[in-house]
């Protein structure tokens, strides 16, 4: 803070008078309280503005405001303390500091410690050993310092022989002043950048209440921030009609460049997302004998796992579309699988209670298994993005969260059947769909006693899946048995939007991790729909039996 340097002409006597009664001496408007509800003290407001002007570099303006308003940025205490430190009047300094009211003992002793440290350093650097010791002994007994601080002060004297300092004395004193400014509380010293902080808090609060908020970046101060529904996907932009039967699963790759869909027609399709927002088929993966109900992208997006309810697991190369490996046989059917972040290890959960959960490497070697009497059918499982937790859903009401590193586990018991599980991108939360038409969100570490609940969709009999999505994973989307897609803002339990378009049950949804305005849904009506914000060209519903898709370019990205 360089405000003092601009004030050379003003006499300090006049200044001191101004501090005594800040409220009655103010020039300008007479009210002491301002703001919409009269909650803000005018002189505090002005003081904060002066600080802000200085921190933005407008020192002349800051000085002008001080004289015009009669309010001084620096408190009386600080105005006395500052020159004493800069001039090295240590005795006076300590007296002043001891006299400042409103300090906790801890703050006061920390401040005294800093001052003593600088003072001793200065004496010793001049070779003034006996003065240093005498000063130290006097202050220790007068101030009743804590033993710990005394020890450190004394210890540091070992290294401060004469002529051993790197910076100049005045630089060190300025540094000391800076440290004291950070230490001393208001009203003696204001916290740094106070106005920015206050405005920032208001902005953050507005963003938090903005239910449609779906993009990063700064917001304008001119109006209270509030996004419209054109920020989130609400309209069908494309229909992908290549499957011959019900589409049960859909998921974007981590890079957002691909979409995988799985169908009861026993195939899975890898779609490529084009730069203009359109989709084309990259590969159709055809070697399963039974319906494919689940896919999982490797974290590096080079491989895809597919599996089905009564079907083996296949590992596919995304680039070539060839099947690299098949895991298991008709004895071991896998209901769900997940990757570890190294893209080298896979966990699979079996619908056969005796098989439990297995961890494999990509070559098919079994690395670990969780089996045993307590194992029941595994309905779904997931691994958090940092690889620390393995979450599994057991038939049909139990969720087990295992910390893979410590091997500790905690269990959540739901009251209704769970059909699916989805983990947030940051690995801190997960959601489960229940047959009671609720989606429950829990925290991974297990601190929450109750879940957050989301309702509005329909789910009685089928496996319906949901997902996190949007900027900062602020939204949840889910399929529904009434052929609609539901979107919630995580903070509200009632749906934000209901998207119509499908003609049959929507089984699964996936939000593009790189494009917060692109959502995909998979339905029993044999199609995958791509949704985008209002304002993009609305598609007409057309299902085409060949792998050739109608698409309309997205305007937004």
């Amino acid at each position: 803070m360089v405000v003092s340097e601009c004030r050379r002409e003003e006499s300090s006597l006049k200044r001191r008078k101004l501090w005594e009664e800040p409220m009655t001496m103010e020039k300008g408007s007479s009210s002491a309280y301002i703001g919409p509800m009269g909650l803000i003290k005018r002189h505090e407001f002005v003081r904060v503005i002066i600080q802000c002007l200085s921190s933005l570099g407008f020192h002349k303006s800051a000085f002008c405001l001080e004289s015009e308003s009669g309010i001084c940025y620096k408190s009386k205490d600080f105005e006395v303390l500052e020159p004493e430190i800069l001039n090295g009047n240590w005795e006076d300094c300590i007296k002043c500091l001891s006299g400042i009211k409103g300090l906790t003992d801890e703050t006061r002793s920390s401040a005294l410690f800093l001052i003593l440290q600088q003072c001793l350093l200065e004496f010793l650097s001049h070779g003034d050993v006996s003065t240093a010791l005498a000063f130290l002994q006097k202050q220790v007994s007068a101030l009743k310092m804590e033993t710990d601080k005394i020890r450190i002060l004394a210890f540091n004297m070992l290294f401060k022989g004469s002529g051993e300092i790197n910076s100049s004395i005045s630089e060190l004193r300025k540094k000391l002043l800076g440290e004291l400014e950070k230490l001393l509380p208001p009203p003696v010293v204001l916290p740094e950048r106070r106005l920015e902080h206050l405005v920032g808090t208001a902005v953050v609060s507005q963003i938090d209440s903005c239910v449609y908020h779906n993009s990063p970046g700064p917001v304008s101060l001119y109006e209270d921030h509030c996004c419209g529904r054109d920020q989130i996907p609400t309209d069908t932009v494309q229909i992908l009609a290549a499957h011959q039967n019900e589409v049960w699963f859909v998921q974007f790759s981590y890079s957002g460049e691909y979409l995988a869909s799985a169908s009861s027609d026993c195939t899975a399709i890898i779609w490529k997302v084009l730069p203009d927002g359109g989709f084309t088929i990259k590969h159709t993966l055809q070697s399963h004998q039974n319906p494919v109900s689940f896919v999982a992208w490797s974290p590096d997006d080079t491989m895809l796992l597919t599996c089905g309810n009564v079907e083996v697991v296949k590992l596919w190369d995304v680039e070539t579309g060839t099947c690299k490996r098949t895991f298991g046989d008709h004895g071991f059917t896998v209901s769900s699988c997940a990757w570890f972040p190294d893209s080298k290890r896979i966990v699979c959960g079996s619908s056969d209670p005796e098989k439990g959960i297995c961890m494999w490497d990509c070559e098919g070697n079994e690395l670990k298994a969780w089996r045993g009497m307590r194992m029941r059918k595994v309905l779904d499982l997931a691994v958090t993005s940092d690889g620390t937790h393995l979450i599994s859903v057991f038939s049909d009401k139990e969720i087990r969260i295992l910390n893979v590193l410590t091997n500790s586990e905690h269990i959540i018991s739901e009251e209704h059947s769970i059909t699916s599980l989805s983990v947030s991108a940051d690995g801190n939360f997960f959601i489960v769909n229940l047959n009671s038409q609720e989606i429950h969100m829990w925290d991974v570490v297990g601190k929450w006693k109750k879940p957050l609940k989301y309702t509005g969709h329909k789910q009685h009999k089928y496996v319906i899946r949901s997902c996190f999505g949007g900027f900062n994973s602020a939204f949840i989307a889910s399929g529904s048995e009434n052929s609609e897609v539901y979107i919630w803002n995580r903070q509200r339990s009632k749906p934000l939007e209901v998207l119509s378009g499908h003609s049959m049950t929507v089984n699964c949804v996936s939000w593009n991790p790189r494009n917060p305005q692109m959502l995909a849904s998979a339905s029993d009506d044999h199609t995958v729909r791509i949704w985008g914000p209002v304002g993009t060209i609305i598609s007409k519903e057309e299902t085409i039996p060949n792998p050739c898709i109608m698409h309309f370019p997205l305007c937004t990205y």
């Binding site: 050993v129 006996s130 240093a132 010791l133 130290l136 002994q137 006097k138 220790v140 007994s141 033993t147 005394i150 020890r151 450190i152 002060l153 004394a154 210890f155 004297m157 070992l158 290294f159 022989g161």
Partner: protein, 233 residues
């Protein structure tokens, strides 16, 4: 552990052993005249250079006990040039002794300068930091003997340092650092404790030498006179 007293009587203790135990104790503690007279009285062989070595060591240890650590260091360096280098902890303790003496005699300025010159290298090593903080804090008090660090002035401390120095010098001249008597007492205590633990006897883990000796002497004189007892020389 309680054993049948007769078991003890079956063990013969040779004169040679007892004399060596006593001699080792006397040498360890630098009782030069007693050593000479003991050797005369018992007729055992005098170890080579024994008396000169005791003399040298005794001087050094006395300086340390008196608080003249610098002289003790000087003589130790003469006797064994790399001993202190190899025993950093000991070196530190000796330097600290000198520092403490300076503070005690109110020569604080000298003490600080001494510390800056000789103790600051230790300050860069984490293991010495806490001890150095204690030492340096003495300078902060007008009456250091009333400070929380007053224990640094105690005689016990000086004795411990002197003893450590004694052991280091003995080790350096290829003599045992512990006298056989010490070791025997330590051995008995350890074994007794271990046996008590194995036999599950709680509360009997503290071995009292006095109790032990009292019991054993009383028992043997009551029940088994004369066999195995020796006349005084």
């Amino acid at each position: 552990m309680e054993y049948d007293p007769r078991l003890y009587e079956q063990i013969a203790v040779s004169d040679n052993d007892t004399h060596n135990i006593v001699l080792s104790y006397l040498i360890h503690n630098c009782f030069k005249e007693t050593v000479e007279s003991f050797i005369c009285s018992t007729g055992i062989k005098k170890p080579a250079d024994c008396l000169e070595d005791i003399d040298r060591r005794k001087r050094i240890i006395k300086f340390a006990l008196d608080g003249n650590a610098l002289k003790a260091i000087e003589l130790t360096e003469q006797l064994a040039p790399d001993l202190l280098e190899k025993n950093k902890d000991l070196h530190f303790e000796l330097l600290s002794l000198h520092f403490i003496e300076l503070v005690r005699s109110k020569r604080c300025t000298e003490a600080l300068e001494f510390a800056q010159k000789n103790l600051s290298p230790f300050g860069k090593v984490q293991t010495y930091v806490k001890k150095l903080e204690d030492l340096m804090a003495l300078l902060a008090y007008e009456e250091p003997e009333k400070s929380p660090m007053f224990h640094l002035f105690s005689l016990d401390r000086r004795q411990m340092v002197a003893e450590d120095l004694n052991r280091a010098i003995l080790a350096h001249t290829n003599q045992p650092s512990y006298s056989s008597l010490e070791r025997l007492i330590q051995q008995t205590t350890v074994v007794d404790r271990q046996l008590n633990q194995e036999h599950g006897k709680e509360g009997q883990s503290s071995f009292s030498l006095e109790e032990f000796v009292k019991k054993k002497i009383r028992t043997s004189t009551q029940e088994f006179p004369s066999k195995g007892q020796k006349q005084d020389a």
